[in-house]
Amino acid sequence: MDWQYFSEVLPHYKMALWLTVKLATIGIFFAVIVGVICSVIQYFKIKGLHQIVQVYLEIARNTPLLIQLFFLYFGLPKIGITLSGEMCGIIGLTFLGGSYMAEVIRSGMEAVSKTQLESAKALGLSNIQLMRYVIIPQAISYSVPGLGANCIFLIKETSVFSGIAILELTNTTKNLMGIYYKTNEALFMLVIGYLIILLPLTFFLMWLERRVRNAEFGA
C-alpha cells in the first residue's frame, strides 16, 4: 500500500463519491414517484393505462441496466435525441427503479386487508380518501423493507454508469488505475467508497424496519 498515493487521489474520490450519491438520490427520488403512480394504476386496474404500465414494468424488469443506458447514450443521439451522460444515468435509474418500486408498493397495498377496504367504503369514503387515509399509511409500513432493499440495489446499480462515461466511483477508479497503475490501492478505495455509502444506510434501514414493524396496525 502506498499512502502517499491515497492523499494524492483523495479529492478525485471525494468528487466521485459525491456524484454517486447525488445521481443515486435523484434517481431513487424519481423512481419512487414513478413507482407510486404505476402501483396506483395497477391497484385500481385503470383501463388503458393498466396495460401500458404492465408493458413498461416487464420491459424494465427484464433487461439489464447497462443495455438500457447504452441505448439511451449511444443509440438515441443517432435518431436526433442527445442527452448528457448524467441525464442518461438518471433516466436509466428512474426507468429501472420505477418498476422495482412499483412492484414493492403494489404488494404493500395488496397486503392491506379486504375488511379495511370494505369498512372504509361502508363509511362512505371516496376512492381518493380511501387511498389517502386507509391504504397508503398501512401500505408504507408493509413496503418499508422492500423499499429499503430497492434503494440499496439502485445505489449499487450506479456502478454500471461507468459504462457511459459518468465519473462516479467505479469509473474514477478505472481511470486512476489507468493513470497510476496502483491497482490494489485504487480498488481498495473503490470498495471503501461503496461501504461508506451503503453500510450506514443498511444499519439505518434495519433500525427503520424494526420501528415500522412495531408500529404495524393490529400486530
Binding site: E58, P64, L65, L66, F70, K78, S159, S162, T183
Partner: protein, 225 residues
C-alpha cells in the same frame, strides 16, 4: 435512412455473431447457476444451524455480496488476483468465480429461508421416525424446501442472466462486445447503426428474461402458501 442501420444486422453473418455472443453469455450464466445451486443448497443447510459461530462467517459472506456491487467484485477479482498472487485468470474464469460466489450466497439465503419456513412438526416427526440428521435433510426438509424456493430461484437466475451484461466491462466477448464490434465496423457507412444494434440486444435480453419471470410468477401463484 432509418432502415439502413437495421439492414446491416442481416448482412452476412452479423446477426449470427450476435447470437453467438449471447450463447457465450448464457453458457457462463448457466455454469454459474449450476455451481450456485449446489453450493447454495449446502451452505443454506449449514446456515440453518443454531450455532452462532457457524452462522456468523456465512452471514458476513452474504452481506459482502449484497453490499458491494457485482461490477466491483468483477474488477477486484480481475485486477487484484493476477497482480498479487501470480495467477493468470481469463475474463471468463473471473466471471465464473464472481457469479458462482454471488449466486451461492443468494441461493443459500433462499434455501435457508425455505427450510426455516417449514413447519416444526416435520423435524419432530422425522426424529420420531428415527432418521439421522443427514437423512432428515436428504429425505424430508430439502425436497419440501426445494418446491417452496423454486420461484425465487428462477428470479435469481433471471437476475444473474441480466447481470451478465456487465461482463463486457472486463472484456468478455459476449453479446454487447460483439455488438460494439459490428457498430465500429459499420459506423461510418450507417450512422444510425448503434440505435438498431443496441435496440436488438435490448430485445434479445428481454426475450430470455421475460419468459423466466413469467414462469416464476405463475409458480408463485400456484404454490402460494
Amino acid at each position: 435512412m432509418l432502415n439502413s442501420g437495421l439492414n446491416v444486422l442481416f448482412e452476412g453473418i452479423n446477426f449470427l455473431r450476435l447470437l453467438e455472443g449471447l450463447v457465450h453469455t448464457l453458457r457462463i450464466a448457466f455454469i454459474a447457476v449450476i455451481i450456485s445451486l449446489v453450493m447454495g443448497t449446502i451452505i443454506g443447510v449449514i446456515r440453518t444451524s443454531n450455532n452462532k459461530f457457524v452462522q456468523f462467517p456465512f452471514k458476513i459472506y452474504l452481506e459482502l455480496f449484497r453490499i458491494i456491487p457485482i461490477l466491483v467484485w468483477l474488477f477486484v477479482i480481475y485486477y487484484i488476483v493476477p497482480v498479487n498472487f501470480d495467477v493468470e485468470l481469463s475474463a471468463e474464469t473471473v466471471a465464473l468465480i464472481v457469479f458462482s460466489l454471488w449466486g451461492a450466497a443468494e441461493m443459500s439465503d433462499i434455501v435457508r429461508g425455505a427450510i426455516i419456513s417449514l413447519p416444526k412438526h416435520q423435524v419432530e416427526s422425522s426424529r420420531a421416525l428415527g432418521l439421522g440428521k443427514i437423512q432428515m435433510y436428504r429425505y424430508v426438509l430439502v425436497p419440501q424446501a426445494a418446491k417452496r424456493s423454486i420461484p425465487q430461484i428462477i428470479n435469481l437466475i433471471t437476475r444473474m442472466i441480466k447481470t451478465t451484461a456487465l461482463l463486457t466491462m472486463i472484456g468478455v466477448v459476449e453479446v454487447i462486445k460483439v455488438g460494439q464490434q459490428i457498430i465500429q465496423v459499420n459506423n461510418t457507412e450507417y450512422p444510425t447503426i448503434s440505435f438498431w444494434i443496441y435496440g436488438v440486444i435490448f430485445l434479445l435480453y428481454f426475450c430470455i428474461c421475460f419468459p423466466l419471470s413469467r414462469i416464476s410468477r405463475k409458480l408463485e401463484q400456484k404454490w402460494a402458501m
